[in-house]
Symmetry: C2
Subunit: 396 residues, 2 copies
């Protein structure tokens, strides 16, 4: 996407280098919505929730928001009551400068856990952030969110509601600590569509289920996972019809699906994006559980790295997934190449073909359980030397 695509009517952005990131670079970003719209959020399901998450949950009780302050370099997590006070103070500082109610400001943080936020750095940078807000600078907010991300993540959708064009822009940061049930991941979706708060929440929940809740990098979840959607109504459409709501829901899924795949593709050290598909499971829960278990198996993920069609590891992972299965009914395919039929290996020729596919950057691992009619999927990546390097040396 070109930078000039990174905009939505009525939204402005800005970013500065505040000094929060040890290595320097932009680390503090602001998004401001000129309209008077609605908002919704989805957050980490872990019990350890960072201060910014607790603040957003509180501020979103009225389903409204006009600004998001985001920083990298420090997660403001496991920081106790001081952390919560710091997050509140951030929202107050932005609110004062923007002349809006404090409750209309959301905050999001990513970075090191357990260290206090450098409030002097944040406070000193907010006037400049507000001053430099512009419709052209939202892409700079993406830069300010990045931690171990190797590329900025953005996706846009353009639609039409009752003759009024609207846009949905999603920006995200991801990389490590990605796992179903929300990742260490921040995602902000901005749209100029006019939509009711209830419809926005429903659309978001539904879209998260098939996008961010279907990705994994290392099975770990984070304290700071946050997806926020702001809709400012500036497209000027009437209250959307049911088919327009469907369109919007599709737009959200498309944008969030793009971002999910980018996050896995950019998983720490990842060289391959793999779609784990489980078919003909006995129940929906079985399909999901089987896909997640395979997607999080270190042995399966290292086999992906080595482009090794080592289906025995897939069988072993299925065996401990706790799902209804009979070994002799299982088929396994890499893309369209069957390597297991009726629980037995098809042969070395098929494995050779499969391994050629596995040398690519993206492929599917399809598992047919032969038990019923349920299907699900999870996106995962390979486990590499680089993953270990990044995470053994993240803080030190």
């Amino acid at each position: 996407m070109e930078d000039h695509d990174c905009w939505v009517q009525g939204f402005k952005g800005s970013a500065v280098a505040s000094g929060l990131k040890k290595k320097g670079g932009v680390d503090l970003g602001l998004i401001f919505s000129e309209g008077d719209g609605v908002a919704a959020g989805v957050f980490t399901t872990g019990k350890v929730k960072a201060a910014p998450v607790l603040l957003c949950m509180d501020h979103l009780q009225d389903h409204r928001a006009k600004a998001i302050l985001v920083n990298s370099g420090n997660a403001n997590a496991c920081t106790g009551s001081k952390g919560l006070a710091d997050a509140r103070r951030c929202s107050e500082l932005v609110a004062t400068e923007l002349k809006i109610p404090r409750k209309d400001v959301l905050v999001a943080s990513t970075g090191v856990i357990g260290a206090p936020l450098d409030m002097d750095a944040v406070a000193g940078s907010i006037p400049a952030l507000v001053k430099s807000l512009s419709a052209q600078s939202i892409h700079r907010v993406v830069d300010a969110m990045m931690t171990t991300d190797s590329f900025p993540k953005r996706s846009v959708f353009e639609g039409n509601a009752g003759g009024k064009p609207f846009r949905v822009l999603g920006i995200a940061k991801g990389a490590g600590m990605i796992m179903p049930q929300m990742a260490t991941m921040l995602c902000f979706v901005l749209t100029d569509l006019r939509i009711g708060a209830g419809d926005l929440r429903k659309s978001l929940s539904s879209a998260v289920e098939t996008t961010f809740n279907r990705i994994t990098v290392d099975g770990d979840t984070s304290t700071n996972d946050t997806v926020l959607v702001l809709a400012n109504g500036m497209a000027g459409n009437k209250e959307p019809s049911s088919s327009e709501l469907d369109l919007f829901q599709g737009a959200l899924k498309s944008v969030m699906g793009d971002l999910s795949a980018m996050i896995v593709r950019d998983g720490e050290g990842a060289t391959k994006l793999v779609r784990i598909v489980v078919r003909s499971a006995a129940t929906a829960a079985d399909a999901e559980r089987a896909a997640r278990t395979v997607a999080n198996s270190s042995l399966v993920k290292t086999a992906f790295y080595g482009a090794d069609a080592n289906w025995g590891r897939v069988m072993a992972a299925l065996g401990r997934a706790g799902v209804r299965m009979e070994e002799e009914k299982i088929s396994i395919l890499i893309d369209d190449v069957a390597i297991v039929r009726n629980g037995l290996g098809v042969g070395t020729e098929a494995e050779g073909l499969a391994q050629e596919k596995m040398k690519g950057r993206e492929f599917s691992l399809v598992i047919e359980l032969g038990q019923g009619n349920y299907e699900d999927f999870v996106l995962t990546c390979d486990l590499t030397h680089e993953y270990v390097s990044i995470n053994a040396n993240y803080r030190t």
Copy 2:
């Protein structure tokens, strides 16, 4: 342990290079018990069970066994009805040569999944195996079991029952695919104690619970996990008293505990053995679940590798463990150095001290939840570059 310690009265062993291992070397071992004793087994809890596991479960229905044939190089797993027929044939060949009932022969395999066992290699080697059985050669069986193990694993205990000395010898192979609820792990325990079949089973179940079920290398389980105990009664003791049974149970725990720790220490690519201890959990299940979740977190394990006292990752793992917790009540220690108190970091000085301890080969990570009176532990290792190298290149 010296090789001459690797014996128990009435047990003989032998090993040959049959050609099952691509790289060559001994790969087929036999253990034979001269006595007429009892046996018990514990097996993988995964639903995909290898043929040798199914055979052992069948042959142990009478709680008796006199021989174990073990091979490396091929797991005889995911090999369907042919695999089962092959395992049966192995037991028949050994039984014929030893002139004992087929049901008294157990088999165990480890190695590549999904490839048929080379029956010619096995059949051709069995006469030589039987011929070379000797009390001094049990240590050679350990060599024949090794796959990616970097050292042989043996432990011995000497006790006394009613004035009669007895020994408990354990031998094991481990390395990858190690995880609570049984690992890709073979363990054979041989004792000359006279003991009833029921008591032997009870002692084994109890010992497994606090040893092999409390270790993890990569969270994966295997199709072939097997622990077998043979007791041949040749110590000549009377039926053990209740205190002698306690002594034997302690002996089993000691031997199997030693072997468990060796397996984790020799986890694929591992450089550190870490004991994850969870204290003051609300329930026993919470204590275990919290310990397992932290022990299997890739982010925690890479931090161990980097000797990084990154307690934020521990908190994040606890947060997704699904246990009763309050962030502000949590303490975390490395050995005796507290790095978190009341959910907050103690400071960089404490972390520095903790990091010094983490540079060693063995340390504990202690988590106090402050919820109740339950405690549990799991042994784990670090996640390293070498783990990735080994598993990305295992077959290819």
